[in-house]
């Protein structure tokens, strides 16, 4: 996303939001939120009374107008909060829409390429994209590899590599191919593309209330009915006491009591929660997914790329007894020279100085060492599980999985026995490394140890997760020995070794069966069933189309550790709702003490004993409460948009703190606020007749 770090009150968002706050006064919009709807009806009725009293000229006009205006402000302020939250998404949607220009596509039909408009592409079409062209639709690459500029959707300027086969086949419409040429199969029909979905999601156009939001709204509606009854029955009670009830005052009391603070901010909190996820470059397919993230108990994390850096590095080369060291190092160097994998390159870097060959500078510079003349590279395959080099003079070098290399050596007619190396292989595996055997046609030479490099600070993050009550399970294809060593080093709670899509799926089902909510990340097509089964499935943007459709979030940066942040945002979202609900209800205590004595002091002068804030006059008391009630919405907009402060701790510690801040604070703050407003009204002589 561009402009990800907007300030909270960016001018570009602020002005349209002010406009929208008035547009949203439309009752058809307000009726979706019963609390604010009642508030608007109250504003309307008081406006009517203001007009009525104006004609009656009974001296109540000024007070009626003031109450009515502040009730309208209350509704407008709530609308403003929602408009502000939506504004950020709208600004991003506008930007995305600009990138969605009409492009041409080279459709391949029967081997022939024809130029068609991108809007004519349908699912299953094959399309070629050359360097410099825009990718016309979403899909999976089936031929070739290319560097792609995805900044249009990710905001990240560094190009990424997308290639056929494997887990980085996904391309997104609207991004640009920088080099090379690819053929991909279109995965979506027009209007359903990732960009389309993204626009509607960030814009909040299709925003549906989440289950928790609905439950909370029911609670708030219920409380509103309770207060409606409490206030409406005050009218006959007042008549019994021998006074004439004032409808304007009753409405003022009602609006102060119903939970307008949370009612007004509720939808803003939800939208802002989605937006906070988006600011982390994660696209949640629904608000429900973000909420579910907050409930997660178990996190499945892929070892590679999440817990460890994506590539293993050579950390040791142990030469067998009786073998010339220079020969072994040279063999290691040449065996990997043409090996483009990060592991292969790390072996070259490690072995070069020891072999007295190319220096680091040469290796990293443009002048990459050439292969010896005529030598041919034997690439790694899943079948041979070895790679190496064949020289023209018949010399051969191989490195790879120990059993495969041993078999190859035996095949060459040499001895595959090397007790020292066997012991080393065992030791390396036990320590969590990957042992590779190195050999030439004359026999075994050495063991190369590849070591997983843990990402920095992972242990701290897992400790934080544990404090939040979340268990992490590492998923790896490694054998149990290696896996347990890495698990211990990284501090995860558990691991699944020799993972296959089936065992991964079984693990998720087992966790869910024991009542836990599971989150996982994935990218490959074979992850799709597990992603769909998990309660929260986050797909890497680089992943395949199938995987993206199975998950309920897409990480545009393809960084699996993001899942942890999304969990935190989900928790923050629910906490913000709970905190503001508590605050809103606690506020009512002070409002009663402001309004009730003011209402009845004329009938029962003794009631002034309840005016513990010593508010100047009945009118100023009621007005101060109404003004406080409106202003608190504005004051809490930043909190609603940012979410309450969150530190990963146990539930009881979090609860204690929030109850203190929002519960106790919610009782005390309005006493101070209402008194302060009353003093200001007094200072400006707006208190009305005593």
């Amino acid at each position: 996303m561009v402009n990800r770090s907007r300030s909270l009150f960016d001018g570009e968002i602020l002005w349209p939001a002010i406009g929208a706050s008035f547009q949203k006064l439309d009752p058809r919009w307000q009726v979706k939120n019963p609390v604010m709807f009642i508030c608007e009806v109250g504003a309307l009725v008081t406006a009517f009374y203001a007009v009525h009293d104006g004609f009656a000229a009974n001296g109540k006009l000024g007070f009626d107008i003031a109450i009515s205006l502040w009730l309208w402000f209350t509704v407008v302020f709530a609308n403003f909060a929602e408009a502000m939250a939506e504004g950020r998404g709208k600004a991003q949607a506008d930007f995305l829409r600009r990138t969605k220009t009409e492009t041409m596509a080279n459709r391949i039909v029967g081997g022939k390429e024809t130029q068609v408009s991108a809007s004519e592409l349908r699912k299953g079409d094959r399309v070629r994209v050359n360097a410099g062209e825009l990718i016309p639709a979403d899909g999976d690459i089936v031929e070739g590899a290319a560097t792609v500029d995805e900044s249009a959707i990710t905001g990240e300027s560094a190009p990424v590599i997308r290639e056929a086969g494997g887990d980085r086949t996904g391309v997104t419409g609207g991004t640009r191919v920088l080099s090379d040429s690819i053929v991909f199969v279109v995965g979506t029909n027009p209007g359903e593309s990732f960009l389309d979905r993204m626009i509607s999601l960030v814009e909040g156009a299709q925003r549906q209330k989440t289950p928790n939001e609905i439950a909370l709204l029911i609670l708030l509606a219920g409380l509103t009915i309770v207060f409606l009854i409490a206030v409406a029955t005050l009218a006959p009670f007042t008549i019994y006491a021998g006074a004439k009830p004032s409808i304007v005052v009753l409405i003022a009391l009602l609006v102060c009591l119903i939970p307008t603070t949370i009612g007004g901010l509720l939808s803003a909190i939800g939208i802002a929660g989605m937006d906070r996820v988006l600011q982390r470059n994660v696209l949640a397919m629904s608000g429900r997914a973000v909420e579910a993230a907050g409930d997660v108990d178990t996190l499945l994390l892929d070892k590679t790329g999440t817990i460890t850096l994506g590539n293993r590095q050579a950390s040791e080369i142990i030469v067998d007894a009786g073998i010339d060291e220079a020969r072994a190092y040279k063999a290691a160097y040449y065996s990997s020279l043409a090996d483009e994998t990060p592991e292969g390159r790390s072996i070259v870097v490690f072995a070069a100085p020891k072999a007295g060959l190319a220096t680091d500078a040469q290796l990293y510079g443009d002048a990459r060492p050439e292969l010896p003349a005529g030598a041919s590279f034997v690439p790694f395959s899943a079948y041979t599980r070895m790679s190496g080099l064949d020289f023209t003079d018949g010399r051969k070098i191989r490195k790879g999985a120990p059993d495969a290399v041993r078999a190859w050596v035996t095949e060459q007619g040499a001895s595959a026995s090397a007790p020292l190396l066997d012991a080393q292989i065992e030791r390396i595996a036990r320590a969590g490394g990957t042992p590779l055997l190195l050999a030439d046609e004359r026999g075994l030479l050495a063991v190369i140890a590849l070591k997983d490099i843990l990402k920095p600070n992972m242990k701290v993050r897992f400790d934080r997760l544990r404090a939040m009550g979340i268990r992490t399970i590492m998923i790896t294809g490694d054998n149990p020995l290696t896996a347990s060593a890495i698990a211990a080093e990284s501090g995860v709670d558990d691991f699944l070794a020799e993972a296959t899509p089936e065992t991964k799926m079984a693990l998720i089902k087992r966790e869910q069966g024991s009542g836990r909510l599971v989150a996982m990340t994935g990218d490959g097509t074979n992850d799709a069933p597990a992603l769909a089964q998990a309660d929260v499935g986050m797909t890497m943007n680089s992943g395949t189309q199938a995987a993206k459709e199975a998950g309920n979030m897409v990480d545009l940066d393809s960084d699996p550790t993001k899942l942890i942040e999304v969990v935190e945002v989900g928790k923050q979202l629910l906490m913000t709702r709970g905190a503001l609900t508590t605050f809103s209800i606690a506020n009512d205590v002070a409002k009663y003490f402001a309004i009730l004595p003011a209402m009845f002091v004329a009938t029962y002068p003794e009631m002034n004993a309840l005016n513990i804030m010593h508010l100047a006059t009945p009118q100023s008391a009621i007005l101060s409460a109404v003004i406080f009630n409106a202003l608190i919405i504005i004051a809490l907009i930043p909190l609603a948009l940012r979410g309450v402060a969150y530190r990963p701790r146990g539930a009881n510690a979090v609860l204690r703190e929030n109850v203190l801040i929002y519960g106790a604070g919610g009782i005390i703050i309005p006493f101070i606020g209402i008194k302060a407003i009353d003093l200001i009204l007094q200072a400006f002589h707006l208190t009305g007749a005593a």
Binding site: P211, N212, I214, A215, L219, G222, L223, I225, V226, F227, I229, A230, V231, A232, T233, A235, P236, F237, T238, I239, Y240, A241, L257, G294, D297, R466, A467, M468, G469, S514, G515, R516, G570, K571, Q572, L574, M575, R577, G578, T581, T582, I585, A586, V589, Y592, L596, F600, Y604, E606, M607, L610, Y646, A651, N652, V654, L655, R656, N658, V659, G663
Partner: protein, 566 residues
């Protein structure tokens, strides 16, 4: 307040505390179908009853079937009692020759006893035959209490059960609550009461010449047996109009203590039963502690207020606490304890006139009722009532820990909140709306005993008591067609609307998968949860009734202490 009075409160609480575990554990065993010491005696009777009534005790009911059974049973019970009241003059055991009860009073009385309220617009000694008292009222005192316990157990099953939608079998729960719990304890209690001097006979009233030379009729009848279930079942309907103020119903301080123990016993012990069902006793104790704290707080305010006495009376040179409407047998301390406990539980029997309490002393019983009869509450009704507030507390506070709120591992979602809110609405709707109607209509004001704020308190108390199914009264108000009808409506919905909502809530929770407990789970056994539960109960109750109470007891208090009377 005197030290003796404090000590008396403390001893009373300690006895209850000691009984909670054995009685609660026993009730759990009964409803879990475990063997108890009564099984050899009761099991054959139980089996025979099922055979006669053609009940299949193995049949499991989901929440709808359970509800249909409860409502059907109650409807038949209502019709039975109504007919009995309307025809008692032709029925046996009527030595005083009582005539048939008029329709509106019969309607009110039938609902009153059906709903475990025992609001009495009549005086038993001058209106009802012995047969009506025994076969009509006392029968309902048993079955309404038994149904209350059964429903509570069904609700608990819904809250704790993770397999299937069953809430149990209403007929089995009802039968067991009668055979194993209510009957045995009542029999023992009635015998002890007879020993303290409560009459138990079928003779006509005895007329004696009193010391002053007046001739006075002394009420007799099968009083002790009704007295026991009146307290034990938190019914509260006295055999005579004066209820437990009358020296026949409550002759000595010992009978007074026994009666107080009886009406708190089952509501308090059910929290322990709940803990057994939840397989975590702390869940039950958390509820017990929250209830105890509110009860103790109310007791303190009421006791201090009554012991403080009336400043206007003090001005006349009479010192001491407020003794108006209290019996010297019990004094200020025991009267306040009785009043607070009888309203905290939904018993509603009285040993003093709440109407004559100091304004704040009278506010406590009223507020106890307005909190929804959840502070211990009625037998069964108190437990399922507080569980509704637990759901709300868990929902609001649970959000603050950053997870979808859950209770006993079950997620509190839309349906649960919906039903909890429906249950919550019952008390304000059926208390405040009819109070409002009464306050401005001629019929509503016709039978008031007082005017001004105290008169308003009488109306408010009547509808609070009716909706809360308490049954105690601010004596001043007397019945007429208006009140017969409207309190009847309040009693009916106060009982059954809440039952429908809470059983539906339990049905929605039944069979929900329990979520594993982690460090991120909001624990419902901690001190902070107890504080929150009390906070939600008090704030919701206070916010709903503060305006009304302010116009009644609170303003009356302020007026009284500034020297104003009516």
């Amino acid at each position: 307040m005197t030290l003796t009075a404090w000590l008396q409160d403390l001893v009373y609480f300690l006895i209850i505390l000691a009984l909670v575990k054995p009685v609660g554990g026993f009730m759990a065993s009964v409803f879990m179908g475990e063997r108890t010491f009564l099984t050899p005696v009761m099991a054959p009777i139980e089996g025979a009853l099922y055979k006669i009534c053609r009940i299949d005790p193995a049949r499991e009911m989901n929440w709808k079937s359970y509800l249909y059974a409860v409502l059907g049973f109650s409807f038949v019970g209502f019709a039975y009692l109504y007919i009995l009241l309307r025809t008692q003059q032709w029925l046996p055991l009527n030595p005083q020759g009582m005539s048939n009860v008029p329709p509106d009073l019969a309607f009110n009385t039938a609902i009153s006893f059906l709903t475990n309220t025992n609001w009495q617009f009549y005086s038993g000694e001058s209106t009802l035959s012995y047969f009506t008292q025994m076969a009509g009222l006392a029968w309902h005192m048993f079955v309404s209490a038994g149904a209350g316990i059964a429903i509570a157990i069904a609700v608990v099953r819904g809250f704790v059960g993770t397999s299937g939608k069953s809430l149990g079998n209403f007929w089995v729960d009802l039968t067991r609550s009668m055979l194993y719990i209510l009957l045995p304890i009542s029999v023992v209690a009635a015998l002890v009461l007879i020993f303290t001097g409560v009459p138990q006979n079928f003779s006509p009233y005895v007329t004696v010449k009193s010391a002053e030379g007046f001739s006075q009729a002394i009420t007799g009848g099968p009083m002790a047996s009704m007295e026991a279930i009146k307290e034990l079942g938190t019914n509260g309907g006295g055999f005579v109009g004066a209820n437990s103020i009358s020296p026949n119903e409550n002759p000595t301080p010992f009978s007074n203590l026994l009666e107080m123990l009886l009406f708190l016993l089952i509501p308090a012990a059910l929290t322990y039963t709940y803990g057994r069902f939840a397989k975590d006793q702390r869940q039950g104790w958390a509820l017990f502690i929250a209830m105890s704290i509110i009860w103790a707080g109310g007791l303190t305010v009421a006791s201090m207020s009554e012991a403080g006495g009336n400043p206007l009376v003090h001005a006349m040179g009479v010192t001491g606490g407020n003794m108006e409407g209290k019996d010297v047998r019990f004094g200020v301390g025991a009267s306040a304890l009785f009043a607070v406990t009888t309203t905290a539980t939904s018993c509603g029997c009285v040993n003093s006139q709440h109407d004559s309490f100091m304004p704040l002393g009278g506010l406590v019983p009223m507020l106890n009722i307005q909190l929804g009869e959840n502070v211990f509450g009625g037998v069964g009704a108190g437990l399922y009532g507080i569980l509704e507030f637990v759901v709300l507390t868990v929902f609001i506070a649970g959000l603050m820990v950053g997870r979808t709120p859950e209770y006993l591992g079950k997620k509190i979602e839309r349906r649960e909140v919906q039903f909890a809110m429906l249950a919550l609405l019952v008390v304000p709707v059926f208390t405040l709306v009819p109070t409002g109607i009464a306050a401005v209509t001629k019929d509503g004001l016709a039978t008031l005993n007082n005017n001004g704020a105290h008169g308003f308190s009488e109306i408010l108390y009547a509808f609070s008591s009716a909706t809360g199914n308490n049954g105690s009264a601010f004596g001043g108000l007397s019945g007429n067609t208006f009140y017969d009808f409207w309190t009847g409506v309040s009693m009916f919905f106060g009982r059954f609307a809440e039952i429908v909502a809470i059983v539906a809530l339990a049905g929605s929770l039944a069979g929900k998968k329990a979520i594993a407990t982690t460090a991120g789970t909001f624990t419902t056994t901690s001190g902070i949860f107890v504080v929150l539960l009390i906070g939600v109960l008090l704030i919701v109750g206070a916010l709903t009734f503060f305006p009304a109470d302010a116009l009644g007891p609170i303003v009356e208090h302020l007026q009284l202490f500034s020297g104003k009377t009516f």
